[in-house]
Amino acid sequence: MNIVLIIPAGLKHSANALGAAMGWGPESYSVPLSSDGAEPPTHYGLNLAEASDVFLAMLAAAGNGEMPQELIDAGYPPQDFAAVMAGLIVRAGVPFDTALADAGLARGTA
């Protein structure tokens, strides 16, 4: 099952840092989004084509305010974690563009 994550542009840096601290790599949120696809982006998105059960469980726990141990060990700021979780839009099992439409967003064509 895929999972779509969308973050407000102002939280992109913190969200990417969170992903990096979780071992997902440096630039997880790489798709610029806005209401009509035009610049400047108001949000950034990612599509994880195969989300593991471990990942989904972690995300569910994070949604309940439980900061994953990997982030604590990596020294990720708790206040950033709270901000990212508060701003994160999560859709599981739907196409990326469906998730965007539901959120009133579109991607550009550049």
């Binding site: 440096p26 195969e50 990326f96």
Partner: protein
């Protein structure tokens, strides 16, 4: 539609023949990503976990100079997924959102001629231009080439640039569509040819200027690793640093089609 019964995408793997890109082109074969060889792929960039069907592919070694050439993706969400058809054919599934692989720089400055072969299935028209593979971050401004699937609408496009861009397109291939694509380009003779499923479908005689191709990364499935994306399947591809002869082209296209089952 069931897969793997002679025709249709993902023909049965046991139909492979003896000819391979290496045996057809010898030392002129410069890049070959063989998705039917799972020993070339891993789930992590460190190459500790071998590839498995249903799992992301983070690293793939090129079968030419594998110690030097590879394509990889450091970010988990941007890795294509290894899939297998009912006929046993492996392919990389690209989500058309953020998936992409990238090589280190590969130096094509020794040649003004290239032959590019790719087996793919395009699923939808995402955006106006969907790069399956592109030499350099943007073929419009560098001495590279690109295959777009689609370029717009129902088209396929092959584009190359010496001093001036030459491109050729062919429409009428509505997604989903499975194809063996061949692009041929020679800057010095203003040759630019696109073939789809063993037939020539487009040419351009644009004056391409002079000089050779450049020394750039190859970007697969996403422009420059950050931009527009390809939505579909990659069965495998290879690049030759000269124009292929008619006999070589037929052999190369037949080799790919044994997996792809496009025609």
């Amino acid at each position: 539609m069931p897969f793997g019964f002679g025709f249709g995408p993902g023909r049965a793997a046991q139909r492979r023949g003896a000819s391979t890109p290496a045996s057809i082109f010898g030392a002129n074969l410069r890049v070959w990503f063989d998705n039917q060889d799972l020993s070339t792929m891993w789930q992590d960039v460190a190459m500790t976990t071998p590839a498995a069907v249903g799992q992301p592919v983070a690293m793939q070694r090129c079968k030419v100079n594998p110690a030097t050439f590879y394509r990889s993706q450091a970010t988990t969400a941007q890795r294509p997924i290894l899939r297998q058809t009912a006929g046993g054919v492996y392919y990389l599934e690209c989500d058309g959102v953020d998936d992409g692989l990238e090589t280190p720089t590969i130096d094509f400055s020794n040649t003004d001629a290239l032959s590019v072969f790719a087996g793919l299935r395009k699923l939808t028209a995402v955006g106006t231009t969907s790069p399956f593979m592109e030499l350099s971050a943007n073929v419009d401004s560098n001495r590279g080439f690109a295959i777009f699937a689609p370029s717009s609408g129902t088209q396929y496009m092959f584009k190359a640039i010496g001093g001036v861009t030459a491109s050729t397109t062919s429409a009428g291939f509505a997604a989903p569509h499975t194809a063996v694509l061949t692009g041929l380009d020679k800057i010095g003779t203003d040759t630019c040819v696109l073939r789809v499923n063993g037939a020539q479908v487009g040419t351009a005689a644009t004056d391409q200027g002079a000089g050779n191709f450049g020394n750039y990364p190859l970007y697969y499935f996403r422009r420059g690793g950050v931009g527009i994306t390809f939505n579909g399947w990659d069965f495998g591809s290879f690049i030759v640093d000269r124009l292929a002869s008619d006999t070589e082209m037929a052999a190369a296209e037949t080799y790919l089609n044994r997996f792809v089952g496009a025609y």
